[in-house]
């Protein structure tokens, strides 16, 4: 069965400092992995996705993530946090069945950015 574990429920950083949100996955086959962001009262927005191409994936708004099979990790990073990055972040694995898929979400990491 596919699953993801987000290692931190809350992360707090100062504006301009690096961001690291940690995610470990469990998968019985080569996984498709995603990071989604959810701002208050808004829908989920895809930040980036890994689908067995390059292991370092670049996304929107300066975010990137590295797929490490040996560590079963897919951590999200950003070199310099901005106030607008404050939101809930979800690590997600795609569970494929037949020719279809469903998304399995982690519990989420709330990112706070302080001035």
């Amino acid at each position: 069965a596919q699953s993801v574990t987000q290692l931190d429920s809350h992360v707090s950083v100062s504006e301009g400092t690096p961001v690291l949100l940690r995610c470990n996955y469990s998968s019985s086959y080569s996984p498709s992995l995603f990071w989604y962001v959810q701002h208050p009262n808004k829908g989920l927005q895809l930040l980036l996705k890994y689908t067995s191409a390059a292991t370092l994936v670049k996304g929107i708004n300066g975010f990137e993530a590295e797929f490490k099979k040996s560590e079963t990790s897919f951590h999200l990073t950003k070199p310099s946090a901005h106030m607008s990055d404050a939101a809930e972040y979800f690590c997600v694995v795609s569970d494929r069945f037949g020719g279809y898929n469903k998304l399995i979400f982690g519990a989420g990491t709330r990112l706070a950015v302080h001035p």
Partner: protein, 113 residues
């Protein structure tokens, strides 16, 4: 190009009532999935529809049912509402295969009193 739209935005019901939530997929998308997001948790998969049929179902009771129309829009119905059904209900659409990104709507916030 309109994205995924959902209606209503908010809904308040009492225990035992029934509710219908609606979703219109992004243009060109033919597959709709529904997720339930309880407060402080990640979304949980309810079911997915393609060609007006339910493809797969998550771990939800039969009180949760759905429908997909020929224009690919979808409804989520919940019968005999419980307090625990209070959540944000998210609709996601995609085009076809399992490798395509799912696009999410803003959700419907359901409160059961």
């Amino acid at each position: 190009d309109a994205g995924v739209t959902q209606s209503p935005t908010h809904l308040i019901k009492t225990r035992g009532q029934q509710v219908t939530l609606r979703c219109s997929p992004k243009s060109g998308h033919d597959t709709v999935s529904w997720y339930q997001q309880a407060l402080g948790q990640g979304p949980q998969f309810i079911f997915q529809y393609y060609e007006e049929e339910e493809r797969q179902r998550g771990n939800f009771p039969d009180r949760f049912s759905g429908h997909q129309f020929p224009n690919y829009s979808s409804e989520l119905n919940v019968n005999a509402l419980l307090l625990g059904d209070s959540a944000l209900y998210l609709c996601a659409s995609q085009q076809g295969s399992s490798y395509n990104e799912q696009f999410f709507g803003p959700g419907t916030r359901l409160t059961v009193l």
